[in-house]
Subunit: 329 residues, 2 copies
DNA sequence: CTGAAAGCGCTTACAG
DNA sequence: CTGAAAGCGCTTACAG
């Protein structure tokens, strides 16, 4: 079923059919009606691929994600997709591997996507620039890379880390440890830097540090390591919620300690599970809906104006107090 | 940058360029080398949309998902996407709304997808048949609809429900309740039917029933309702894990009861959180990787053979025993 | 192995 | 408002 078939049946030109399905094009009511009648009789639907080819606008946006285990990402993905769909764009989803990043992006480019959204995936500066040259806007979510033309949307990770330190110190903690995410991720660097600077404001330094690499298992190992040392922490800032759950499990089930009586735990993200009673995790909120909305606003602005001017949005951090950490008086 | 630009630079025909990028096409080594050199000099990549148009094979597969809060779906989505990518297909992702289902599918069809995978979304039989007429294969995951030509992949929900009943009865429970998911979903119907039949095998009937609609909040309400009655359950089978976490939270935090000493809880799915120590949920496994693999196998077989013969795969259910339910001696 | 040519299904100036 | 025509960037018989 093509527009030509419809044109024949409706006894109009193929152009008239095309115009009927193009919002804003000039067609008389009479023509439109005849075309619609013929179209529905034949079950005709315009071919979006042909439209994309000829118009140069595919209305395809690629979303890159590395893993969906950490609930922050499914939530963001859902928000992004819904917003994009509502604006008449389609989502091309790509799961990236630690290594094959560049290959994936090149495949995306073949599909003539009009923009790229990167969440939980890092992009080499090479690749970001390659996209910029092609004129395809890139917006990174929850991460940024220096020296690229890619835009970014993050929460104020530095301020978030600082707030955690302040909260913990004011609650009377003295031996405050940090469990890091992926060492060279921008989120980890910023949260850690803010945290240390917050401790320093109170004349303290971190009492222990181990690395969980943002994985559940990594966090469990990191916790055991931390508590195997002579100086045991009385509070831990964990670089994200996903790891914090593993940390809490190990502390309660394996070490037999109470939270927050023996150890306070604070995470980062405020994923849905953080509010589940079994954890009641005190954490720093990253508002997924707002991050998604901001990312899409930046991306579509660039898509529609065909500009690739870099923008970096930093959303405010907010501490969500629950029961996993002692509260300052 | 088009194949014509490359052809000019390489001093060959446009056909030669096309053949160089078509696996299996006959090109001499000499020609191929000149084309590749020119292509990389110009940064040329074939336009997948043009290829799709002319060849009639878009290599696009649509995945429909309704919500990603229940961790079962992100996990399945990740497995599906990776498998499809590995086979050289691209994923077009659609988040469906309870109502706008049909509209979504019609939009998908415009993009000339070669197949549709439906997870956590129900498709009207109308729509399924509409797809079948177009010759586009549809595979539903974790659900099925009677009287359609859509294939399906599910776990053996009936047998799973029966196993839960048997386990609970043999552990000595007498007042066994059920918290339902969405009433008219095939998963709920089958799990419930199997469960009741399992109870009947031991001469028992369900002692209470309320509906959680597969949501976290719905399950919390359903739990409060169940315990507000005169006969309180000493065991509950919850139609999926996602609800079971809410049930456990309410039982422990609000009702002050112990699990499994006072109440046994069994869920369904075995999502990642089920193994977290704070819950230690005994549950029926649905192996997401195997379900994804099976769904893709069925779908691609139909895509590649251009058949739409209906298939219904039912994977075996397996009880995963943890600590949320008393164990039979 | 190679090139000229037809054609996939549309949009969009252009002229009337 | 309408139609004829060009063209988006490719693949793929066809003939040599």
């Amino acid at each position: 079923m093509t527009s030509i078939d419809v044109a024949k049946l409706a006894e109009v030109s193929q152009s008239a059919v095309s115009r009927t399905f193009t919002p804003g094009a000039s067609v008389s009511d009479a023509t439109r009606e005849r075309v619609m009648a013929a179209a529905s009789e034949l079950g005709y639907r315009p071919n979006a691929l042909a439209r994309a080819m000829i118009s140069g606008r595919s209305r395809l946006i690629a979303i890159l994600v590395a893993y969906l285990e950490n609930q922050f990402y499914p939530v963001v993905l859902e928000k992004l997709s819904r917003a994009l769909q509502a604006d008449g764009y389609q989502v091309l989803l790509f799961m990236t591997d630690p290594g094959g990043q560049d290959e994936v992006v090149r495949r995306i480019l073949q599909y003539q996507v009009q923009g790229i959204l990167m969440a939980s995936a890092t992009m080499s500066s090479n690749l970001a620039n390659e996209c910029a040259e092609t004129g395809i806007p890139v917006v990174m979510l929850n991460r940024y890379v220096a020296n690229t033309s890619a835009s970014s949307v993050t929460s104020d990770n530095i301020e978030g880390g600082r707030m955690v330190a302040d909260f913990l110190v004011r609650a009377g903690h003295k031996r405050i440890a940090y469990i890091a995410g992926i060492e060279d991720s921008s989120t980890n660097r910023d949260r850690e830097a803010g945290f240390y600077s917050g401790l320093a404001d109170h004349g303290l330094v971190v009492s222990g540090r181990s690395v969980g690499n943002y994985t559940f298992e990594g966090a469990a190992l990191a916790t055991r390591e931390l508590f195997s040392r002579s100086v045991k922490p009385d509070a831990i800032f964990v670089a994200n919620d996903h790891m914090a759950f593993a940390v809490m499990d190990v502390i309660r089930s394996e070490l037999g300690l109470r939270i927050p009586e023996d150890v306070s735990i604070i995470g980062y993200d405020n994923v849905p599970e953080a509010s589940w009673n079994a954890y009641g995790l005190t954490t720093v909120e990253q508002h997924p809906e707002e991050m998604a909305r901001t990312a899409i606003k930046i991306l579509l602005e660039q898509v529609e104006n065909r500009t690739v001017a870099k923008r970096a949005a930093i959303l405010p951090a907010k501490l969500i107090v629950r029961s996993s950490a002692r509260t300052p008086d």
